[in-house]
Symmetry: C2
Subunit: 242 residues, 2 copies
DNA sequence: TTAATAGTGTCTTTGAGACATTATACT
DNA sequence: AGTATAATGTCTCAAAGACACTATTAA
């Protein structure tokens, strides 16, 4: 342990970086920006920036989120993901990145922020083949895995929709994030059986779905913060996986 | 977003702080130190210290852990918990604390590190009434809650024991961490039915338990990293809890 | 001998999943 | 009409929980 000396602490900078996920065109997509400043100018990266004096880590993440997506999102879910601080991950100096994970409903086209020349939604499946700046590929992968796990135990799938929503819309969120087809009938009964997951609004859709069928009832998020029992992924033997 | 300027970034320091949990005297206990240096000199706090140049966040946490507990613990589980960076949480300057969570088997008495005058194990139940420095009370509470949740979905209960262990010892870990009695027979069958949770060593204990009973078989941790299906807490209706 | 414990067997209940059915609405 | 969908019903299987039972060991 080093004795504290307020004049000689090692120089460190702290950034808040974001893994913003949404469902677009039947795909899970993450928000990426093209960097306008060095290092890695011209390359794709997660949106983010330095934490400013006087703001909390969460406030910094929320500020970056509104800058990049166009503000005004009370409905966006935002939680801390993890921190990344390997020496050398930023060529300039020691930088600790506190990553946040956001779930957003489908948004209008993204806005490049101050330091970015471009902002776009990249399908989660394409991230493996994209070159991202810093260690952002790993951060994005961690965020996507966290999102998949969170849908099992929390009602956060609703954060990808704009209430009121139908059970079918909720199912499409699950199918898109997990990349697996779910059984419509069983899913329907299951969602309604979990206390506090969704609440009926009493209304129903104006018309049936595009290819026919009856009109469906509309729901809004319920008070539950955890799902009991959880909605487990189908192929999840998982026991022996790393 | 502030344009980067390597000479004018706001001064920030980064610490690695630890929530080290163990099971002692049939209680879940966390490691605390009494601070020898200001600020908060003389008060209780979580062990930790500044991240040094050239070391990863995890290496910093592992270093603090061995300094405080006496080294040589390949068997201790160490994972990142979360980061805490509210302005003003440290009176000296902006300090970001990257907290790590550790699960340890019962250890000899703790060693105070360089900056500490005392190190001791405090029962988790007593933390609510103790005054901890900085925002360490909240960090400790977050760590304990994470530990309780992790026992449900991971085989990490074994990290609180020293292999080989008996099923009864594993059950005592669960009962202590969750603070609830479990049904011995059902727990036994359940643990053995989860693939990869534990593996028999072939050996058994030298004698029966203190108050009688047959000798029990000994096990070691299996290859699983997740429990499928999970071992859910009994009283966990939880759906509507925050 | 008494009591406590390890390990197993059995029964009931609950929930997941496969499949079927009915009513509704789009083409 | 033909087809797709919302919502519900039925059946089967797996797992959790309550309880019982046997064998083994300490006091």
């Amino acid at each position: 342990v080093t004795t504290y000396d307020s004049g000689s602490y090692p120089p460190v900078a702290v950034t808040a970086d974001l893994v913003v996920l949404t469902v677009r065109d039947d795909e899970l997509a993450a928000l990426l920006v093209r960097r306008g400043e060095p290092p890695f100018a011209g390359e794709l990266a997660l949106p983010g920036g330095f934490v400013q004096p006087g703001e909390t880590l969460r406030e910094a993440a929320a500020r970056e989120l509104t800058e990049e997506t166009g503000a005004g999102f009370g409905s966006v879910h935002l939680e801390q993901l993890a921190s990344y601080g390997d020496p050398g991950r930023d060529p300039r100096m020691r930088v600790i990145s506190v990553a946040y994970l956001a779930f957003a409903p489908e948004l209008p086209e993204a806005q490049p922020g101050t330091d970015a020349t471009e902002a776009k939604w990249a399908p989660a499946g394409s991230l493996g083949s994209l070159q991202l700046a810093f260690d952002h590929a790993r951060i994005a992968a961690d965020g996507i895995e966290r999102a998949r796990a969170k849908l099992e135990y929390t009602p956060l799938a609703a954060a990808f929709t704009r209430p009121p929503f139908t059970i079918a819309e909720l199912r499409e969120v699950y199918e898109t994030v997990w990349g697996e087809k779910l059984h419509a009938g069983n899913f329907h009964r299951k969602v309604l059986s979990v206390p506090g997951f969704v609440e009926p609004t009493g209304a129903q859709t104006q018309s049936g779905s595009a290819r026919g069928g009856p009109r469906s009832r509309l729901y809004q998020p319920g008070p539950a913060t955890q799902l009991h029992p959880p909605l487990l992924r189908p192929g999840a033997e998982g026991s022996l996986r790393a």
